[in-house]
Amino acid sequence: MTDDKPMNSPYLLQMKEIYKSFGPVTVSAGVTLEVKPGEIHALLGENGAGKSVLMSILCGILKPDSGSIHYKGAPLNIGSPREAIRHGIGMVHQHFMLVPNLTVAENYVLGQGTPLRLINDMKAVHQRITALSDRYGLDVRPDAVIEDLSVGEQQRVEILKVLFHGTDLLILDEPTAVLTPQETDRLLDLMRDLVADGKTVIFISHKLDEVMRVSDQISVMRDFKVVHTTAVTDTNPRELARLMVGRDVLMELPRGSANPGQVVLSVDGLSCRNDLGLPALKGVSFSVKAGEIVGIAGVSGNGQTELSLAISGLLPIDAGKVSLEGKDITGLSPAEINQLSFAHVPEDRHKMGVLLPFTLAENAILHRYNQSPFAKKGLLQRGVTASFARDLIKRFRVKTPDEEEFLANLSGGNQQKLVVARELARDPNFILVSQLTRGIDIGAIEFILQEMLKQRDAGRAILLISTELEELFTVCDRILVMFHGEILGEVPADRSRLEEVGLMMAGQRSAPAAAMEPALT
């Protein structure tokens, strides 16, 4: 590593003794983080350990109560994200910060220069986006409108946005949470390319294998402090997990074989179109039996979103039939489907799963706001709701001061835990889950996946849609692979078939083993 900067400190960034609290709630308790230039520095920690808060402080969104930041050898005092960008610090946030009804290019130039200049420059902007996109293989079209993009696509738009503004220090807050293995590989390669270009990366992830593969240094946060910093060569996943969670974590869950009963969900020749009116599902058929977990694997944007929306009545169905416990539910409204023994963890919690300005208690009754015991004679029963919410918080170990906290103040993983807790509490016979463990730490993943297995063993039918093969192979009994709106095939969830699933996700029906890595740059 060449050190071409005129400074005595070997560090690009030094955050020292950072303290931050929101009223009585401490969120940074004397954090010290040191990052050398040209390294990929991973930041690990349980949900709510204070990773996102620390990074928000670094890029000027939050002000620390005390502590010092040195950057490029000089004290750094930034008051706004825009200043941070000027210093070459750019962040891709855990929750997207894009304006949904603008195009990619418009989002990038938002707040930059005068409108008149922009109109002239827009062509150059488009070219620059296309060039960057081609260079890093991100598949981002400058004229795509954000709200038409899938979660995975939006993530790539966010990453490209930071590159577009030109940064030296790139902060990626859980960028791989929504990516498929192939997309993740691509991103990790990209991170190495960036480092080769002289940039430095801080990388937050809950996925230890990625962290081991890509990073040079690793810092682990626990209880709002960095408790350990080590070179990647001096550690292993087991040790990291123990440092994060404070106990040993099971990487492989013990489970008995499934005991499938009657068909609970059956989908027959289902076709529908997406928001743009293009065919998204082309005659999909499958069924889920009581007591089994069926996984749907696929690169995001291959119809999984539409599948979950169509089943839950949120997207009009063009052809085909959906039945639940023998009852035809095709074309029923979401309200009618909610009356049935049905639960749904949506893929994008912020888009539809939660209400950020509501308290946890209010969020806990989203589907049952007008049902006994949460409502009587049309009035909300706040006592019942509060104790119900406290119960969910306790059972799923949601990290929060109390149930009257606003959901927006929870860390990403803790928001997700509340959604899962709420949905399972509906005591459903059929559970539709999308991106179940998105943003959840390894300790909590273990817990939630165990919870899913318990539900299975209690005779529930579970459909698990995921881009996360690890998760699918850990809990599913069989896996269907979706590609371009069709189900390409079914594979038993046996780890020896992992490669086969990967190939099918790339569109190959059968598996000539040589053709892995099809056309990825």
Partner: protein, 323 residues
């Protein structure tokens, strides 16, 4: 207020003196207090109603028009049924006003739900239609044939809203306005129906996911706010003027928007912010009389008050700690 005083000084007035006149003068005597309360009735009603619409993300700018629609409906009923007792007639007139306003708001709601027409645009256009229609009615079909000026016939005695205190113009509408603001608070924050209205306002995707009918909730919210504005119109007719005129409202419908914003879209707080705006309105009339301060300057001071309070409110919201 300090800033307002500076502004007055800059324009050559005795800043603090004028403000003192405004504050002391307003509360001078019993009569002026009842006049303030009288002015606060439509402001509280409209402000509280708009809180519901705004919470549902329905930007109803048309309370003024809805007030006129309510006033017309109330007048039609109030002149037509001789022989009814007050116990029946007054509620009938008030209900007619509320329905008139709700209908007028409902048109914008329907256009929004059915055709995605921006309610901001449609409610503004409906304001013009209501005002022009009222002018036409009082000069034409509803004109009092015995009168020289454009005005409707007088409401029948039994349709008049009873005074709260004899000798003052203040009527029992003030009690009803406060009670309804409290009812709307309970509705919005303590009832299932209000929960749905708020969810639709925050995140329509989540609302659909939860099985709520977004269109119906939007209709309900705008009809409630329209109904409250219509009721305000009915009270002006049946409680104050007893006739329909061209200009029965000095802009209560627009001031109601500020009342709701100042209340942080909470109907309970609309009682206080409605009261405050009534004070400002009376104060501004007084300021003009006693110190010849032009109306524009008074409006600017009002604007400063609104801006500072709303900004502080917004800052509190974005600091994201619960209060």
């Amino acid at each position: 207020m300090g800033f307002g005083a500076v502004l007055l000084e800059l324009n050559g007035y005795q800043g603090m003196d004028v403000i003192n006149v405004m504050i002391i003068g307003v509360f001078q005597d019993f009569r002026s207090i009842t006049e303030i309360l009288l002015k606060s009735i439509p402001l509280i009603l409209i402000g509280a109603g708009l809180c519901v619409a705004f919470r549902c993300n329905m930007w109803n700018i048309g309370a003024e028009g809805q007030l006129y629609a309510g006033a017309v409906a109330a007048t039609l009923v109030g002149v037509s049924f001789p022989g009814l007792t007050s116990w029946i007639y007054v509620p009938l007139v008030l209900i007619a006003g509320a329905l008139g306003g709700a209908f007028w708001g409902g048109i914008a709601g329907y256009l929004k739900v059915r055709f995605q027409a921006s309610e901001i645009v449609t409610t503004i256009m409906l304001n013009y239609i209501a005002l022009i229609a009222t002018s036409w009615l009082v000069t034409g079909p509803m004109k009092d044939t015995k009168a020289a000026y454009p005005q409707s016939a007088r409401l029948l005695r039994e349709a008049w809203v009873p005074d709260l205190i004899s000798g003052a113009r203040l009527h029992i509408g003030i009690l009803i306005a406060i009670a309804l603001a409290l009812v709307l608070y309970v509705y919005l924050y303590r009832s299932s129906a209000g929960y749905a209205v708020r969810v639709v306002g925050i995140n329509p995707h989540a609302a659909r996911y939860a099985g709520m009918n977004t269109g119906r909730n939007m209709m309900i919210a705008i009809c409630i706010s329209g109904g409250m504005a219509g009721l305000a119109g009915a009270f002006e007719i049946a409680g104050v003027t007893h006739r329909l005129y061209q200009n029965i409202s000095p802009g209560y419908g627009f001031e109601g928007i500020a009342v709701a914003l100042l209340a942080g879209n909470n109907p309970m707080y609309a009682i206080f912010s409605g009261g405050l705006f009534a004070v400002l309105r009376s104060g501004s009339e007084l300021m003009q009389i006693s110190s010849q301060v032009p109306q524009v300057l008074v409006s600017i001071i009002q604007g400063i008050v609104i801006l500072s309070v709303v900004t502080f409110g917004a800052l509190r919201f974005f600091s994201r700690r619960r209060g």
